[in-house]
């Protein structure tokens, strides 16, 4: 990761090991989160240990397909990324994630199918960007 935009310098500096692994995989185009092998619980955000049984979790890849759960627009701040529509997507595996929706706000609706198109960002991370699927 090499960042030319410093807006995420503190986010990157304090990122825990599960988040670093999440973004390392995403940079390779693989969306994944953790599941507990004994409880079979799939959780997002990813965690290194299962809170229920204490066991170590394993990474599981996700399809990147889902539906729009909720979406909004932000007033512009420090870090503005066109088109600035953000939302929560419910993935077909059942977990919900936060991401950019690369579609005009007016054209979106709750329940609309979307799919992931990861996008490298000049702040040093590959981001979750969803397009109508």
């Amino acid at each position: 990761m090499s960042a030319t935009d410093p807006s995420l310098k503190y986010v990157l500096r304090d990122m825990g090991s599960a988040a670093r692994e999440f973004y390392r995989r995403l940079a390779e185009g693989r969306l994944a989160t953790t599941r507990c092998p004994s409880c079979d619980e799939l959780r997002f955000p990813p965690r290194e240990r299962c809170a229920a049984c204490g066991g170590r979790t394993a990474w599981r890849e996700l399809s990147g397909r889902g539906t729009v759960y909720a979406f909004t627009q932000q007033e512009r701040g420090l870090r503005f990324i066109a088109p600035d529509v953000v939302g929560v997507v419910e993935l077909e595996e059942g977990v919900r994630v936060f991401g950019l929706l690369a579609t005009p706000f007016e054209s979106l609706s709750i329940g609309q199918p979307v799919e992931l198109e990861p996008r490298a960002d000049d702040a040093g991370l590959t981001l979750l960007v969803f397009r109508p699927g």
Partner: protein, 400 residues
């Protein structure tokens, strides 16, 4: 009778409260405002700074950079020897949890009397030229939203609240005008509260005509980012009796935190189970039910979130709060008056002081000092505070 902390004579009670005006204080520091709120709380019951044994503080907010180890400088300004000096930080709930810490130290008998102070004055920050230091502070604030939200440019809690608002309106088929009724009702309370920042009457049309800050939230459904400070003084029952002070007892405490940071991916966005659980726990410990509560202050940082909070507390069914508000059930004179102060939307919202402003309002009501907005015969009050957007809640039950 025993409370959530301690029993008999050591159980904690609120004996005084005070605040600054809420709004703009461009030339005052948060410490100055906090000490003014403390002075008012002490003067109200003829106490002196030297009566205090302990001080519970919260940070000055998030946009304003704060040097470490601030409590000792506040103690120096106050000039009093103390037996406890504490700063508590947990987002918007900080001052509520500082109040809890004070009550705990009183309950164990470590101290008999303590002041809790919350202050914020950030309104003028970033208003002039933004230098590299300010920009770096903004980058640090963004980290608050963590690795899964901050990368998308989220700088404030507003878009997180907006997602919950959209989902709430979608799930219950609510129209914008139904949400807009709440700020109108809160303004009628604020009109009767000299402390409130916004007191001029508004209509549903005004709310809907105000600009969208993050769809579907309108500006008049959001709180002003206020400056202000508040203080409550907590003591043991025994100390209050010795000093001849009226005491409002803490009889219930409940608290629940979702394992999430701002966006509750797993719990969904519209049911706030942590509010339900903290309310249930507090009422159970006070051996009370919701029907016993005469007056309540809830945090409600945005209109839709406030409506969801009412429902999560158990007052109304899912999606039913807007109709109940429109029917006057939460207004003074209604079934359960909520946010008689005007709430965050009209009283004003200096987050680091807000839980103490809520405690002040409920204590005034229970003491019969709320003047034009007095709830008749109020004797049992509820205060709810929260953090995140929102994903954790604390509830106190207070009884005169």
């Amino acid at each position: 009778m025993s409370g959530p902390f301690g029993s008999g004579s050591s159980r904690p009670a609120v004996v005084s409260w005070g605040s600054t005006s809420i709004g703009k204080h461009p030339d005052r520091t948060p410490s100055d405002l906090g000490l003014e709120a403390l002075d008012r709380a002490l003067e109200r019951v003829d106490l002196l700074p030297r009566d205090l044994e302990a001080l519970y503080l919260v940070p000055h907010g998030y946009a304003r950079a704060q040097a470490p180890i601030r409590p000792q400088r506040v103690a120096e300004e106050l000039g009093v020897q103390l037996h406890a000096l504490v700063e508590v930080e947990c987002g918007g709930a900080s001052a509520m949890l500082a109040f809890k810490a004070a009550c705990q130290d009183v309950a164990t008998g470590h101290v008999e009397v303590a002041a809790v102070i919350g202050a914020q004055a950030e309104r003028q920050l970033f208003k002039g030229d933004v230098d590299e230091g300010d920009l770096d502070r903004a980058r640090l604030m963004a980290e608050m939203f963590g690795p899964y939200i901050a990368p998308y440019g989220v700088m404030t809690a507003v878009p997180c609240y907006a997602l919950a608002a959209q989902r709430y309106m979608y799930e219950h088929d609510l129209a914008p005008a139904q949400i807009a009724e709440l700020p109108v009702r809160l303004r009628t309370h604020a009109a009767l509260n000299p402390r409130a920042e916004l007191r001029a009457p508004i209509t549903v049309e005004d709310v809907l005509a105000s600009r969208i800050v993050s769809p579907p939230i309108h500006k008049l459904e959001a709180p002003p980012w206020s400056d202000g400070a508040a203080c409550v003084v907590v003591s043991s029952r025994e100390w209050a009796e010795r000093r001849g002070l009226d005491a409002i007892g803490l009889t219930g405490w409940g608290e629940a935190h979702d394992p999430s940071n701002f966006v509750t991916f797993e719990a969904g966005l519209t049911s706030y189970p942590w509010v339900r659980e903290s309310t249930r726990q507090a009422l159970a410990r006070a051996s009370r039910t919701l029907d016993d509560v005469d007056v309540a202050e809830v945090y409600g940082a945005f209109a839709p979130a406030e409506l969801i909070t009412y429902e999560a507390m158990g007052l109304f069914g899912a999606g039913q709060a807007p109709a109940a508000v429109a029917a006057g059930e939460t207004s003074v004179g209604g079934r359960i008056p909520i946010n008689t102060s005007g709430g965050r939307l009209s009283l004003g919202h200096p987050p680091q002081a807000t839980p103490l402003l809520e405690l002040q309002e409920v204590c005034e009501q229970l003491a019969g000092e709320a003047d034009a907005r007095q709830v008749k015969d109020a004797s049992i009050g509820l205060v709810q505070a929260e953090h995140g957007a929102m994903n954790g809640s604390a509830v106190a039950i207070l009884e005169a």
